[in-house]
Amino acid sequence: QQQVKQSPQSLIVQKGGISIINCAYENTAFDYFPWYQQFPGKGPALLIAIRPDVSEKKEGRFTISFNKSAKQFSLHIMDSQPGDSATYFCAASMGFQKLVFGTGTRLLVSP
């Protein structure tokens, strides 16, 4: 119940295209859903996060879509750029407790 399932494992997108990464969870007590971006040799950095009281949150080219009934959330990267090439992790937590991470998606944006 503590797992967060993430797909796809890897993704190749053309420059200017839309990158979509999906996550699913089982524990309905989760109340915080962040996405982290990690470049090689660096620690993960918070990209965007959402709480289940909203269905969508947008920050620049990055959007989280949240479907509470389906227990799924996804990251959309609009107008994907080569600089977006990184590994993306979804995560979930409840009540300020520890984060549970997805397995990660390696995104490559081709020029």
Partner: protein
Amino acid sequence: SAVISQKPSRDICQRGTSLTIQCQVDSQVTMMFWYRQQPGQSLTLIATANQGSEATYESGFVIDKFPISRPNLTFSTLTVSNMSPEDSSIYLCSARRGGADTQYFGPGTRLTVL
């Protein structure tokens, strides 16, 4: 935000030895965490470092192997004891302020055990 630094950034160690990794946060935080990340893999929580008390370890991790100290609200250490090649990994320090969701990560320490 919080800026987290770790020392060393990388190290190559011999089997059977121990390495202590330091984590410094630029401001006081309530919670500090230590993670392990195998190359190309996700993050696995080792333990929560508690200020003034013993760390809380996740299943599969024990204090004798990964002793943790947290003497104040900005600093913590993780020791990897009696190392074997299986301990080769990236070790990440993370921190969060009380009542806040955002969790920050350090740059990681890349450990290779020969």
